[in-house]
Amino acid sequence: MTSLLRADFTTQWRNRKSFILILIVPVIILMSWKGLVDKLGGAFVLANCITVGLTAIGLMGYSNSVARDREKGIFQRLRVAPVAPGAIMISRLCVQLAMILLMTTAVFIGGNYFDKITLSASGYLMGYISAFIGGAVYLGLGQMVVGLIKNAETVHSTSRLIYFIFIMVGMFGELGVLGKQIGELVKYSPYGTVKHILASSFQPATWDQSSFIALLFTICYAVVFSILGIRWFRWNAAK
């Protein structure tokens, strides 16, 4: 397991350009929404940025790396060695958890630097926990994409499309730009529920029944996506 983790972290480190790409959109939101912090609240802005970052990690980072390695036969090579298939995936997920930790920290730092947003210690702690729970939704979604689609190029383009739809509909829908009905739908979508639990976690005192409902939805999404993703997943890219 240690060897696998070392190799996966090294691979991720050598692909740090992808981490920068994951961070770009949240940083742009932090910078461009500077004037909206007073109106929408710091927690809302940070929650949006982290949700966008989580979407990118699950859909752009995780699914693409798994699809690529499957197509190159890297998984098959590992599977013919005496290593449990679960260990291969756990190692991959550990890398993604580290990415979530890094991205969330970067957003907190950026939020403070660009928008002067500060949270209480419990707000930061709860924020990290919610980021991990929210991350599970998008990692599950990424797993579903690689489970359904075998070809790495198709996974790449599909995950980009889903990412784009999620952030555009999610962000603008929540702001009410796309109408009331869409706004209501977004509230219960994976984007809306993850954003909701993040925003409530940043201000633990505001955690209420709607936050619990959002948490419940988030956990359900994570479980359903992961179960389907694992069920559909094939180690071999060949049909």
Binding site: R6, A7, T11, K72, I74, Q76, V80
Partner: protein, 256 residues
Amino acid sequence: MNEAVLEVTGLNIFYGNFQAVKEVSFSVNAGEIFGLLGPNGAGKTSTLSAVEGLLMPASGKILVGGYDNAKNPRNARANMGVQLQATSFQPELTVTEIIRLYGGIYGVTLTEENLQEVLLSIKLQNDGGKRFGQLSGGQQQRVSLVIAMIHQPPLVLLDEPTTGLDPQSRRQLWERMEYLRGKGHGILLTTHSMEEAESVCDRIAIIDHGQIVATDVPARLIEKNRDRPEVIKASRRGKITLEDVFIGLTGQEIRS
């Protein structure tokens, strides 16, 4: 007679209703290079995948180093080294990192000195820091082979290892196979090159339509089949070669 490092008995593999492998049985002994030959779609890869544990057969028994593949898959895998058709390592990792990764997986402790010896054995002593993706095809194959051998397994599976290699690299790989045979390792080799099979294999099995149609040492296989009309028909230069026997036994038509 050397002990068997691989014993396959009554192997049957299905894909839905299609039977890809029918009652295949063979064994590979220690210190032997055993070639598994067959046209495309004959059942070679399915058989090999079952031995590697990547595919669950419908029935049959596979013993690797005495361990049942179905009952003790991890022990069976620990007793074999595999070189897959595609050189499948993370292109971002360096040669040294890949050797360390698989050394760790197989529980082999590698000191800096050991690592240098391994690199020297594949003539990459100055390229340990090079990323796998930057190596030439021949260098990648050498890394792949050394990884298959990192834990000194009794059985080595080589799936078309010389595909795409230049004659020099191919000859080098043959020498390496012969060296491994000399050290007592059993090698199961699949190849489309009859020249390769004739040159390095001690015994050959020809598989077609999922069944083994012949098993013998190359010279005897030629000798036994030289008078068959289909083999004579397949002969192009008057002299009967292993390729003529192969074509004679498996037919002239092109497989998908």
